[in-house]
């Protein structure tokens, strides 16, 4: 998978919040095989230097870090948080979140497009967290985003893909853009679902971190992402609304074939 010119082997990205302990987090991230983890700048690394110990644990994982602007509600706040992240983590990558609605934590897509433009002009490589809306995704791409991350359903809801038709359209209309489904995935099958739709990767946190056994769940998601991707590449059979026997009926007795 290409992310702003960098080739990344794993198509699974995982968050670093909500685990029972850093030791469990580390084991889960290793089991997931993820090459990229997201870190919340405001919540986890508050003040940077103050969160040093946690940051050292993240660095010890030996994976790429994608800082995010989780919890930001305005363009100004998101841009300032992104700048802080670049300074703290030494990367131009930023997962851009601008929250528009407290209830659903739905992205404020207008603010998102504006903030993405500002950050891209400032040399950032922006990973915008957006809805499944095609025109918003197109605006983000026009602004210079080479990665777009639509939600499956609201953050932490675990509902899986709620608007399949729109996500399919997005994939069809933006074939050159790296598309990652971010947020709302609750079960490994949801991740496989997104990969079968042709998405380049998935990003999740709660489903693993809050599982009874986060390490086993991380592995389950890794397997699902691989299964979904291989399935997509192998070419899925189209669904039909009638049965087609897989064994030729010629040669079977008439009364069986007719049954």
């Amino acid at each position: 998978m290409q992310l702003y010119g960098q080739e990344v082997a794993s198509r699974l990205l995982v968050g670093t919040a909500l685990y029972p302990s850093p030791a469990v987090m580390e084991a889960a991230i290793r089991a997931s095989g993820a090459g990229i983890v997201t870190v919340s700048v405001r919540r986890e690394a508050a003040g940077g230097r103050a969160g040093d110990a946690f940051w050292r644990i993240i660095q010890g994982l030996g994976v790429k870090v994608l800082p995010n602007t989780a919890g930001c509600r305005t363009v100004k706040e998101a841009v300032a948080t992104a700048e802080l992240a670049r300074e703290l983590f030494g990367t131009p990558w930023i997962k851009l979140e601008v929250v528009g609605d407290d209830e659903t934590l739905q992205p404020d897509v207008v603010g998102l497009v504006e903030a993405a433009g500002i950050l891209l002009r400032d040399g950032f490589e922006v990973f915008p967290y957006t809805t499944e809306d095609l025109t918003v995704a197109q605006r983000l791409v026009e602004a210079g985003c080479r990665v777009v991350m639509p939600w499956a359903s609201p953050i932490g809801s675990g509902q899986g893909i709620t608007n399949r038709a729109a996500l399919r359209t997005l994939r069809q209309r933006l074939p050159e853009v790296t598309l990652i489904v971010d947020a709302g995935l609750g079960a490994p099958s949801h991740a496989a679902d997104a990969m079968e739709l042709g998405y380049d990767g998935v990003l999740l946190n709660t489903a693993v971190a809050k599982a009874d056994d986060p390490v086993a769940m991380a592995r389950a998601f890794a397997l699902a992402v691989e299964a979904g991707r291989v399935g997509h590449e192998a070419g899925l059979m189209p669904a039909r609304d009638f049965a087609t026997p897989s064994t030729p009926v010629v040669g079977t007795p008439f009364w069986h074939a007719a049954g």
Partner: protein
């Protein structure tokens, strides 16, 4: 390992210095004294322990509630600690813990029920029986009957008085550097020992202490929160401790507005009368934690370090003190928490 055993055998009847009079050092000194080991307790602060994490603790004794993420050793030692609290301070409140959720966090409550043990489902009428103040406010909850709570600012002085009765000297205002000390010692300094324990880190916790006469709770009530275990713990005199945030930061500059909002909203969700309560204190402290959030007793020659009690200081301190005393007095080992170097 053998060197340490021999070092402690050689220490014989030498006085053991316990460093740190927070909950960990206090229980360790008490258990050593009870095991017949001569001991003195050293504390850099005054008797009010203003700089100690223990002063700001919730004082929950809730091994069942903690079993949703804690390592099994925490649950085992926690259960043992409750016996020790009961034996040493018979007035310890062991009335259980109640867990409820805002209707919209019901899914979190179901998951919590699945991931914890030692509880039973309670309905509206049983919640009203347990906590009349919450009658009609919550339709379902979980009750953990075998749990309790203590008031840190009452039990620490009580345990210190008990030590003094036993003839254990407590030297307040006496900072001791374990590296410079010659005799046998047990280092219970919490996060202050970090320079010697590279894996130890501080995890910020914030609390609010409020007072109101309009609500009465008998036991800690936990409210489901997407990120933190949030409790309202009754304290004597119509006071309630609301805690605590859990933030990966070592900043102790104060309680953030966002955290204060979340803590106070939790109390208000539990009972609207908290809206008229008075805020007495907003407190912040750093919990000492190892990466697995489990405690460790590290033995190196005649020095022992007890640390990493994380969110579980009052829950773990008695049992950890007992493990230390068993080792020092009888050479017994608990390989689940002890490490040798």
């Amino acid at each position: 390992m053998r060197n340490s055993d021999e070092a402690w055998a050689r220490a014989g009847s030498q006085e053991v210095a316990v460093i740190g009079a927070g909950i960990c050092g206090t229980w360790t000194a008490l258990m050593l004294s009870e095991a017949g080991v001569p001991v003195a307790l050293h504390e850099r602060d005054g008797p009010d322990l203003m700089g100690s994490t223990s002063r700001w603790a919730g004082g929950m004794l809730a091994p069942g509630c903690e079993s949703d993420g804690a390592e099994p050793v925490v649950i085992r030692l926690g259960r043992r600690s409750i016996d020790l609290w009961r034996r040493h301070l018979p007035e310890t409140a062991l009335l259980g813990s109640l867990v409820v959720s805002h209707p919209r966090d019901r899914g979190d409550l179901d998951r919590f029920a699945r991931q914890t043990s030692g509880h039973r489902q309670v309905g509206e009428s049983e919640i009203a029986e347990l906590e009349p103040a919450l009658a009609g406010r919550f339709r379902t909850g979980l009750f953990f009957p075998d749990e309790g709570h203590v008031e840190p600012r009452a039990v620490l002085p009580a345990l210190h008085a008990e030590l003094q009765r036993r003839g254990v000297p407590i030297r307040f205002g006496a900072a001791v550097d374990p590296a410079a000390a010659a005799g046998p010692l047990v280092d219970c300094r919490g996060l202050s020992a970090r320079a010697d324990l590279p894996e130890l880190r501080g995890v910020k916790g914030e609390t609010a202490l409020v007072a109101t006469d309009e609500v009465t709770l008998r036991r800690p009530v936990r409210l489901m929160h997407p990120r933190w275990p949030l409790y309202v713990v009754p304290r004597p005199g119509g006071r309630f401790l609301i805690g605590a945030s859990t933030i990966e930061s070592e900043d102790v500059s104060g309680v953030s507005v966002r955290s204060a909002l979340e803590l106070l909203t939790a109390a208000y969700t539990l009972h609207p009368a908290f809206g008229e309560a008075r805020i007495l204190e907003l407190g912040t402290a750093l919990r000492p934690a190892y990466p697995d959030h489990a405690p460790r007793i590290a033995v190196s020659g005649s020095k022992i370090s007890v640390n990493g009690l994380y969110r579980h200081g009052f829950l773990l301190a008695p049992a950890l003190g007992e493990v230390v005393a068993n080792y020092v007095a009888s050479g017994l080992r608990d390989n689940e928490v002890m490490r040798w170097s």
